[in-house]
Assembly symmetry: C2
Homo-oligomer: 334 residues x 2
């Protein structure tokens, strides 16, 4: 049972003052090499670690950053968090996690907590409900309290904050163009999330690339309807390729293709928005849009760090867009 040793105790053991010990351990040039060595020696022996709470109080900071996540079961956000955690370690910041469960009410509670000084800065992806109701007062109050905020992923919101987003629109613009460039004419899109921001953007990218061609859309948040619509696209319209904006529509499309004996990729190419793990695992393996969630997390932490270190111009906010990649597996083989 080791008990934590303090600066004061260390000082007593060494017969020097607390200030000397503190300076020695912090490599202050004021201290003689000899004393410094003595101090460090004993500190090492006792495995001394400064009490972070005391250090933070002294430095008027918390040493933590608050991360607000709408839905942790979504593996995209889970990976973003992972990137944040790794990057925060580099800056010796601890990550405090808050989960809003896509609820505006919960998000308000969280922001209220955050304004009382638990964290040095906040990384947030706003909840769906918040987006829908466009109620941003609680976010502005963070800003009012001088707490730096970085908005990540769901950046379509008018807030004086730095932002890190994913290039949703271009991902499907490029994917659609890829199919066009390979000579495909009938390119369809399936979506179970056409009503939310990222869904809209992906669809927009598809439509922008396809403005001169015919569109083939299967959109519904109701599984039964979506299934019917996708089936129609595959069997009646006989689309040659299908872009799927989300996990549900992707899995459904592959399943329907299989049931209808439409071969992937021979008769139908598919690109989905699913995670690498699932994509590689399916039969055939599924080409997917890689969003680089870890990078989103890392960049968000970096931006916050720069902001905290005053490395960014005040009142001028940065917006970073992480470019997606199209990863080709079996389902897009020509």
């Amino acid at each position: 049972m080791k008990s934590k040793i303090t600066l004061k105790e260390l000082a007593k053991l060494l017969n020097v003052s607390v200030s000397t010990v503190s300076k020695a351990l912090n490599d202050s040039p004021e201290i003689s090499p000899k004393t410094a060595e003595r101090v460090k020696e004993l500190a090492r022996l006792h495995n001394y670690r400064p009490n972070p709470v005391a250090v933070n109080l002294k430095k008027s900071r918390t040493g933590t950053i608050g991360v607000v996540i709408p839905n942790i079961s979504n593996s995209f956000f889970a990976r973003v968090l992972s990137g944040m955690e790794a990057e925060a370690q580099k800056y010796d910041q601890q990550v405090i996690t808050y989960i809003s469960n896509e609820s505006l009410e919960r998000e308000k509670q969280i922001c209220d907590m955050l304004t009382s000084g638990f964290v040095d800065g906040v990384l947030i992806a706003v909840s769906e409900e918040t987006q829908k109701k466009q109620e941003y007062d609680h976010l502005f109050s963070l800003v009012d309290y001088d707490i730096p905020v970085v908005v990540y992923d769901r950046i379509n919101i008018d807030l004086p904050a730095d932002k890190v987003g994913v290039d949703d629109e271009n991902s499907f613009y490029d994917a659609t163009n890829y199919f066009k460039s390979r000579g495909l004419k009938k390119i369809g899109l399936a979506s179970a999330i056409h009503h939310v921001g990222i869904g809209k953007l992906r669809i927009k990218g598809y439509e922008r690339a396809l403005q001169d061609h015919e569109h083939y859309l299967a959109k519904s948040s109701k599984p039964v309807d979506l299934r019917r619509k996708i089936k129609s696209l595959i069997t009646e319209k006989q689309v040659e390729a299908l872009l799927c904006t989300d996990f549900e529509s992707t899995i459904m499309a592959t399943r329907i293709a299989y049931e209808e004996k439409v071969r992937i990729p021979q008769d139908l190419k598919i690109i989905g928005y699913i995670s690498k793990e699932v994509a590689e695992f399916l039969t055939p393996s599924l080409s997917y849009i890689e969003q680089h969630p870890r990078e989103v997390g890392e960049r968000a932490v970096d931006l916050l760090h720069k902001r905290l270190e005053a490395g960014l111009e005040p009142d001028k906010f940065v917006e970073e867009i992480i470019t997606t990649s199209l990863v080709h597996l079996e389902s897009t083989r020509f």
Copy 2:
């Protein structure tokens, strides 16, 4: 731009001492109702919130709990975290998240950090590598530093700590018996995680229930091998039911059944260890073992809280097992 007001400033405005303000805000009986009201009034007006770092320093605590997660992309752990976060809020504790990525090295680093006083207690599921190498020194050092530890999920480890686990063995024992009770004779099991603790337990439950019957096992961590073995079980051995210990084997089994025109549930019943979201979404929907991850998280936080409040007997550790439920969807319809 509101700037945070301090006790001292509040005291000056009110012409009373800092102690009086502090006591008034903490509802000390020492303070006259009149003063208390005056103080609270002004505090409300300025939206005063005590600086948590200062309060924590004074109270010799951190106000945070550290959660170590092996793999946040695993939706089980994501949900556990969600439960922890919700429960921690109730106790006004902040959750600091650390992700070990199943790496012993990383886990050691994390534990090293944690011993220097960032948190009041630790909730940990040890990494796979740690389990395999059975190197637990870093965990013992947490205990040595008097940091209460609660081990969750992967509790098969000899550490003086409270534990919250899932009843992996019984889940498959019960599931197997369910099939037996319905008169099935050829009950198989597929696993891509037969080499790790939870996989072993699930298989053990299956074997215990089936001791007098023949076993039908398909185990491999290599997709190609696993696929071959599952296919053999389904087509050659013609098992009537299949228990799958993990996501990979579950998806693979349904796929193979479909390819081989083995109908689910008519010819083959399946129970898998997959999340509700995926289970309900598949065609047909898949019966699954619900592990109640949120509850695991909640109970872990509760235990830690009790331990911190000295509500648990010292040197006597609690082990809680969360009972799983078998959720019947279409794949087990008789």
